[in-house]
Amino acid sequence: LHLHTLPVMSFFSFGQSAEIDIVLNDAETRKKAEHKTEDGKKDKYFLLYDGETVSGKVNVTLKNPGKRLEHQGIKIEFIGQIELYYDRGNHHEFVSLVKDLARPGELTQSQTFDFEFIHVEKPYESYTGQNVKLRYFLRATISRRLNDISKEMDIVVHTLSTYPELNSSIKMEVGIEDCLHIEFEYNKSKYHLKDVIVGKIYFLLVRLKIRHMEIDIVKRETTGTGPNVYHENDTIAKYEIMDGAPVRGESIPIRLFLAGYEMTPTMKDINKKYSVRYYLNLVLIDEEERRYFKQQEITLWRKGDIVRKSMSHQAAIASQRFEGSSSAEKALAQAQAKEQEQ
């Protein structure tokens, strides 16, 4: 007689099965962040940062109360991994931590296990892209002879930066000889995700009939190395900045608020597996639909929530910008002195 074992044992309610539930200790207070899944849906996950301790509880609930659950050990893992869609079998784990919760034995009733991963390194930001995915998750596993029971809980990691010390503007003259010369300027080269791009396009020579000008934000995801490099370009935004024909000497302003677009920080050579870069693409279109364009890379970074300064300090900064006079500077100094007193 041959007993045919099926992968899902619980079908036959032989033995015992269990449900696993992972709960973070600070679930009540910890913020959640929205993150796109591979099929484009948006979901909310707990938000963690680099260096933070990850602690919580694993609740194991027996499905058939009264029956024992034999197991080969219970553990919890914290994993950070990169998955290239064209090579699904290979997960590249760059963070892999394990905590044993129970030695091989048996559970006679539902039980809760505490866990704590201290000061976990989370060097990269969670990313779900067109050809690659980087994710962090907790995975609790009850090992058994025939089939394990496991539960995963995804979390999202954001990498924060501070204001860059050096943030020069981008200013360049480009064109087609004797035909179209422009000078474009963007106020910074590094923008945070809720920043504003302030710039201008100055026309030095216009011997074409331009009908329209727009600025596009292009995201380029690069996967693979050496001869197998693959670039996936995606135009995230198209923003018309001029409608009509410009002439020499005209200056067209640019003011593009980034907060309205779904973007990630610039990611360079993450674990030597992929990069995500952003470009501003300035496009001019003439009367015969011919397109002239100039692409320029910008660096995007994620700003942390700032500690709120006092109202008077904020107001003083604002007035200084618009008046630039000594009275405004005095107001700023006064506000600063007041802050220090408090």
Binding site: I176, D178, C179, L180, E185, N187, K194, D195, V196, V198, G199, K200, Y202, L205, V206, R207, L208, K209, A245, V247, R248, G249, E250, S251, P253, R255, D286, E287, E288, R290, I306, R308, K309, Q314, I317, A318, R321
Partner: protein, 162 residues
Amino acid sequence: MADTIADTRRLFSKPQNLNDAYGPPSNFLEIDVSNPETVGVGRTRFTTYEIRLKTNLPIFKLKESRVRRRYSDFQWLRGELERDSKVVVPPLPGKALFRQLPFRGDDGIFDDYFIEERRAGLEQFLNKVAGHPLAQNERCLHMFLQDESVDKTYTPSKIRQA
């Protein structure tokens, strides 16, 4: 409470010269294809079209010019540009070989309606091509538009401005 307010004031720009602002723009280029005339007799008949050009672009030697060309001259121009320039040359209106077959009920390729359709297509073709910055560098384009006649034995070359 809002984050620190971003500075969104416009960048400084030089005020525009009034002459630049209100003077004629330096991109004036107008090409008309008109006045079709059928010349010759019998089987050797063909139609020519007047090509009138008005421009202020420095790359054109003459600011005004008027020449006559036939359909095969347009075909020649298109062939030269496809070969020598990196331009994706737009198509010409059709050759209409079927119109040259005998026993037609109408005037074939000398039919008024057909000539008008062809004239409009040739005008559209020339405006697209002559306005292209890369096509403007080709000697064949300038010869076609402004020389008395097209010399098909010419040496193809690029125009370079001083």
